[in-house]
Amino acid sequence: MDSFSLEYLWLIPLLPFLAFVVIALFTRRWARLSAYISILAIVASLVVSAWALLSLVVAFLGHATGEELVKQVTLTWFSAGGVDFPIGLIIDPLTAMMLIVVTVISLLVQLFSQGYMVVKDDHGNLKKDPGYGRYFAFISLFTMSMLILVLANNFLQIYIAWELVGLCSYLLIGFWYDKTYPDGSISPAQAAKKAFLTTRLGDLGLLVGILIIYMTTGSFVFTDVEEAIKAGHLAGGLLTVAMIGVFLGAVGKSAQFPLHVWLPDAMEGPTPVSALIHAATMVAAGVYLVARTFEMFAASPDQQALLVVAYIGGFTALFAASMGLVMNDIKKVMAYSTISQLGYMMMGLGVGAYAAGVFHLFNHAFFKALLFLGSGSVIYAAHHEQDMRRMGGLGKRLPVTMITMIFASLALAGLPPFSGFWSKDEILAGAAGKDQLLYIVGSLAALFTAFYVFRAIFLTFTGEYRGAQGGYDAHGGHDDHGHGGHGGGLESIKESPLVMLIPLILLALASLFSGFLGSPFMGNAFQSFIEKGAELHEEINYTVMISSVLIAVVGISLASLVYYFKVIPADLISKPLPWLHAFVLNKYAMDDLYLWIVNNVVLGFSRAALWFDIHIVDGIVNAVASVIGGFGGTLRRVETGRAPNYGLAIFAGAIIISGILIFGGSPR
């Protein structure tokens, strides 16, 4: 730790921020230059992050434990009326690991984007997307926000970064803001809005949680809060409420049920963005937040807060996986897979398998980014076709993409020795030791996962090419650019350029090897590091391990029987139960439910409020005015303009007043 000073930590988010400023203000128009600036900044951040991690690892290997592995600094951002609003940085194993994940994935995604973010001009030649500079500016801004998020040592800063990554997600989902679909399906701008609002709903919970925490503990800083909780300043039901509030924020960001609805639509953004934000990093921020505040969750009475996390996570894992089974859009499959896997992580944290959850986050970041980038490569090669029903047989034309994606799929399915196996197995082991119901749910979700991911692989890469048939009456596909021609058959499909393939290959290697860091062969080094060197006494649960491998094999085999060997008809279930298929394909009508709520409850309330405003509130104002006006209008008829009338009134009044004054018995 001594070799690394906290001062350098500031550089990590600062460099991407500078890249953002420079690109946004100056170099926006020079596409290539903007990309290089952005990539340069992220490389520099990666170097600093690696240095930070290295120093921690060195300390860890030198048997430093606990607080020795934590360094933080807190400054006052501003103070108002005696409350100091802090800003600060923390570096500990968890943050260091996240720093590496964020910077590496961001770097690879940016490299990939260089190839991906092109459009065909009128002559069929490739040229840079008109928003190329803007794209890299947003990516840099996102990277900065995400780095601030993982570096934050207090709730305020995490909330700030939380909102900023939400903003970047908004901007990047809506990157092709001018695109709409003739069939009225959700456009990028609508998807961006939906994502922003859904996550903000969760942020409200986070905000309330933060308010409760500050009110009771008097601090925003994680370590102070933990101490205050230990000291009993925040305990009991209020602590549970506060932590559920915090978890709500995570539910929104990590797309957990019931706020998961935004993530599939977020696939309207460019595919590399989906890989970076909606697979590897931002959506994992919710998991990160729960991990970061794990001790607080654990301190709630009877671990109620953790139980909520576990059940929501478990349910989401299964729920989303079931939707992954039926989707036809390759990116949608991956989106539901992401939701499902995030649920897995939440479940892992919830059952107390803290290190396993974080480990799965780490592994998932790589293989899911790979799956997305691979999908991007397919989509790019297939002239921006995303519907798997119009693919098939692409493996011959896209060998590198296929192989790397199979690597990632094996990792996702949880087959040893790929990375996903090690972390998923630990989560399931944790669940098995805690709650059998969660274990069953998790296993079922694993079966689904293995099935749907290989369904996607087989549909995409094997069999006959179905793109040229055009026999589908489905709408024109939610391709990224909206102007990808479907011309040409299989021959027109070429492997993506090298700049896109290199990230795929690197990620494939990571998918293969990242799991070993936490495998029993290496003494669960990763977990031990994340737990700050705490003694781990995990026994290997061989039952769980073997059954999870079996489940994965069964899932993959089933997928191959249905979609590769075609011995089982694909409509085996959907034919006798069409309503079930339709119901799942319709995302369990959750979107319709939300739409109904927005249209009828929210907008209905708003319309009622407006009606109330115009007719009641303003009505009263105008009524007061017209009553006074009416009085005036009536009384003015007294003003006949005829002098005798006035004279009469004057004298009559004078007589009455005189009479009162003379005979009225005035006290004098």
């Binding site: 501003f78 103070s79 803001y177 695109k179 005015a625």
Partner: protein, 505 residues
């Protein structure tokens, strides 16, 4: 050394109004430059005051005092502290930007600019005067130019809107005057003396001397005038009308600083002089605040007119000010003042932006636009940024203020429920702003039938950009480094809070 900065800030605009009015009618350049020049002088003066204000010393500074009507104890008494200084700066800044924003006004420019400067004088006077009667005088002075600005340069229903604005405000003023006189006549002759001096009156403990009923009555006499101005539900309906009819620059000033007079006055007068009554009625105020927040946001949601949407959003955002005041913690009070400042800049910017598109398209209806980002990228970027600031995105000033209000209000155990409900407002706010952005700026380029010459709709450039970028710079600066303002506001809030300590609350 004090060369009478505050008097200069207040009366330089008056001089400017006179000089502008004396300019030859056909020399439009001279008129514009005179108005811009004088408002710029005022801006520079207020900036100097801000820079030279000693936050270590705190309290009232740049004080000027002279007897005016000695037999009644009326003084010409001016001074600024951490409460009023941001407001004074905002006033001069927004007036200067308003002059720039109405650079190309066609109809009777001479009168227009004169009235704008007169308006500045009235508002700056309200924020600087420390004598209640002087305060009241400026409070009323501001009405006339505002009325004329709406009624001459306004839209379709300008007469209705203008007369509604004036009558509504005057109704409040009448009650306010009664309240001021009650404070004057019932002031403790020993500790306060017979005076309209706010600082002296604050020494009288009205509740202790005359009971809670008396102080409550006076409190409400004063409060009604202020919540009308703020405006808070249910006294807000003049605001959308006035905004929709007022010309752009006037809307900017109306939303930017005129509303702040209400919040400022509640803190300066109700909180400082009648702390006990404010405490007694804090539930009511918080209730009004919460209703304003949610209700204003909900009504913004279903507006088709962008300007009306921004106007209703002001009701919502000023609800946070009221909540901050009602919660009665130093932090919430600080947040309230900060929210006033930031709302002035953000909403000012939003009104300027709406005005820009109205100038080009002659309509402000959301349904008439689509995909404007394609045609006007810079404009869209500015609008999106301002919208995000309005919905409280961190890094921009709106977040800082709202978060401070939330934290401060939540610290008062009685206000927690109110705080949570008000916090829900940020979701609704995000809803209507992102929805509006999506409909107006995103999707394919589209113009409705009401827009005749859509080729005139081009991106902002030249002079249009200057006020927008200026405000944006302030929004970002405060959002990133709030201490710029909060250090100052802390010094202003502290004495108000000692009033509560003194009252034993």
């Amino acid at each position: 050394m004090n060369p009478g900065y505050l008097t200069l800030i207040v009366f330089v605009p008056l001089l400017g109004a006179i000089v502008t009015a004396l300019m030859p009618k056909d020399n439009i350049r001279a008129i514009r430059f005179s108005a811009a020049g004088f408002s710029f002088i005022a801006l520079v003066l207020s900036a100097i005051v801000w820079i030279r204000y000693d936050t270590a010393l705190a309290g009232m500074q740049f004080v000027e005092q002279a007897t005016w009507i000695p037999s009644l104890g009326i003084k010409y008494f001016m001074g600024v502290d951490g409460l009023s200084l941001p407001m004074v700066f905002l006033t001069t800044l927004l007036t200067f930007l308003a002059v720039l924003a109405s650079w190309n006004i066609k109809l009777r420019p001479k009168l227009y600019f004169s009235l704008l400067l007169l308006l500045e004088m009235g508002i700056a006077g309200v924020f600087t005067s420390l004598d209640l009667l002087l305060f009241f005088l400026f409070w009323e002075v501001e009405l006339i130019p505002m009325y004329l600005l709406i009624v001459i340069w306004g839209g379709q229903r300008r007469e209705y809107a203008a007369i509604k604005f004036v009558l509504y405000t005057l109704a409040g003023s009448a009650l306010m005057l009664a309240g001021i006189l009650a404070l004057y006549f019932y002031a403790d002759p020993i500790v306060s003396g017979r005076t309209f001096d706010m600082l002296e009156l604050a020494k009288t403990n009205y509740t202790a001397q005359y009971g809670a009923a008396f102080s409550s009555v006076v409190f409400f006499l004063l409060l009604i005038g202020f919540v009308i101005k703020l405006p808070s539900f249910p006294f807000h309906t003049w605001l959308p009308d006035a905004h929709v009819e007022a010309p752009t620059a006037v809307s900017v000033i109306l939303a930017g600083v005129l509303l702040k007079m209400g919040g400022y006055a509640i803190i300066r007068i109700n909180a400082s002089i009648l702390p006990q009554a404010l405490q007694d009625w804090s539930y009511l105020l918080a209730g009004l605040a919460v209703v304003s927040v949610i209700y204003g946001a909900a009504t913004s949601m279903v507006q088709n007119d962008m300007k009306k949407m921004v106007a209703y959003s002001s009701v919502s955002h000023m609800g946070y000010v009221l909540l901050g005041i009602a919660a009665l913690t130093p932090t919430s009070m600080n947040g309230a003042v900060l929210q006033m400042f930031t709302h002035g800049t953000i909403t000012g910017m939003l009104f300027l932006l709406v005005g820009v598109v109205y100038d080009k398209a002659h309509t402000r209806l959301i349904s008439e636009f689509g995909g404007l980002a394609k045609r006007m990228p810079l404009y869209a970027a500015l609008f999106v940024t301002a919208g995000l600031a309005s919905l409280g995105l961190p890094g921009l000033s709106g977040f800082v203020a709202e978060f401070t209000v939330f934290v401060g209000s939540y610290l008062n155990p009685n206000m927690q429920l109110f705080t949570i409900i008000a916090a829900a407002g940020i979701v609704i706010t995000a809803g209507y702003i992102t929805w509006m952005l999506q409909r107006v700026f995103f999707g394919p380029l589209r113009f409705g039938d009401a827009i005749k010459e859509s080729e005139h709709i081009q991106d902002v450039r030249g002079l249009e950009v200057v006020p927008l970028v200026t405000l944006l710079a302030i929004i970002i600066a405060v959002g990133v480094y709030p201490s710029l303002v909060t250090d100052l506001i802390n010094t202003g809030v502290a004495p108000v809070m000692t009033q509560f300590v003194k009252a034993g609350l």
